[in-house]
Symmetry: C2
Subunit: 229 residues, 2 copies
Amino acid sequence: VPDEHSPASEKRQRGRPPTRAKPRGHPGLPLELVGGLAPVQRNILMAAHDLLLERGYRALTLEGVALEAGETVGTVKKYFVSKAGLVEMLVDSLAHDTWLKVVATVESLPPGPERIHAYITAMRDVFVETEETLALFNVFPYAMRLPDLRPRLAALYRWYRELVLEKSGILALVPSGIVLTDEEAEALAGVIMAALDGLSLQAALDPEGFDVDAAIDMLDRMVRSAVAV
Amino acid sequence: VPDEHSPASEKRQRGRPPTRAKPRGHPGLPLELVGGLAPVQRNILMAAHDLLLERGYRALTLEGVALEAGETVGTVKKYFVSKAGLVEMLVDSLAHDTWLKVVATVESLPPGPERIHAYITAMRDVFVETEETLALFNVFPYAMRLPDLRPRLAALYRWYRELVLEKSGILALVPSGIVLTDEEAEALAGVIMAALDGLSLQAALDPEGFDVDAAIDMLDRMVRSAVAV
């Protein structure tokens, strides 16, 4: 079916090159640094998180966050400089806490189906039904519109995809060349992140009517079958 | 592994019952009615869509939409009553146009792997990289916070999941009982919708760096393997 393949490969040129680049690491603050934040910084970020969730992105002003945190505007400015700085650090710190929990759960397992199962199951708890992800949904519309914020979120999602591959153990299965090519592994990481985001949305919109556990089970099964020889 | 199964079945009680209910049909306006909207209504909805995309949910006032559409506020009120009425009709009409295009592409194919492939590929064009989906992302944060809007979006997503099963031909594969149970089919529909939403997000955040075609190929492959005997 040559007709099917030629437009697809033409389209692919617009996307990433077929060979996977070296892991880029965290686009902003290294994870260790987020973990080492001063209590006053953590307090301000928690206040920003609550404000974002309860009243949305527009309510996230330096003044509003200072009031919510019980700090002065001067203190908030000292640590985060601007609203943009605050938003960047906030999305970094949301990711940080989530991924640390996943690492603790799955990193000791050898790469393979069991580790993938443990990873997807852990992601359900730390990512799919959490306030952190709902907070992120408040940032997305602005990230799509604001030229300064969008590349920052794009970089965060590239890093998320790297982490998915590494923590799930899928990356360790790739070099054999039997299971997945580099390009397929990247695509799989995109689908996993996408499904987790989208399930988070459906669970938040319909907590009584949507069976998120059954959907996570199905995703787990689909990912394991995608890496099966 | 009885330890694994007992908490899972406990959790599942919070979700949907294991047997799938009858298709509920569209939660609001029937598709035929959206298609039969008067030109003035379509004009107002297009203005609302543009406003939502360019300036966000808060800019979506009856006055703002009237100005954008070149209509009087009285006309907008006459057809849509309130902001809530306008938002509901808007999300219905976004879905309407999208699904009609998918129906035209795949409905003539017999249920099976080829139809699933055609369906997922069509969804890439009409759903993943479209302004309609980006417009919806502007509504989500408010749907999560506003008690009147949330159930409406929840109902819309239930209907989306029904449509996924029906239009992809997966629903027609279920009665045999060999391929998927009703519950698994529901879960699969949730994962497909979730992945499409999430891929839409990653493509919008990172149009140069994210290879959405490769991700759609991978999703297609994963869905086909999930229904394979």
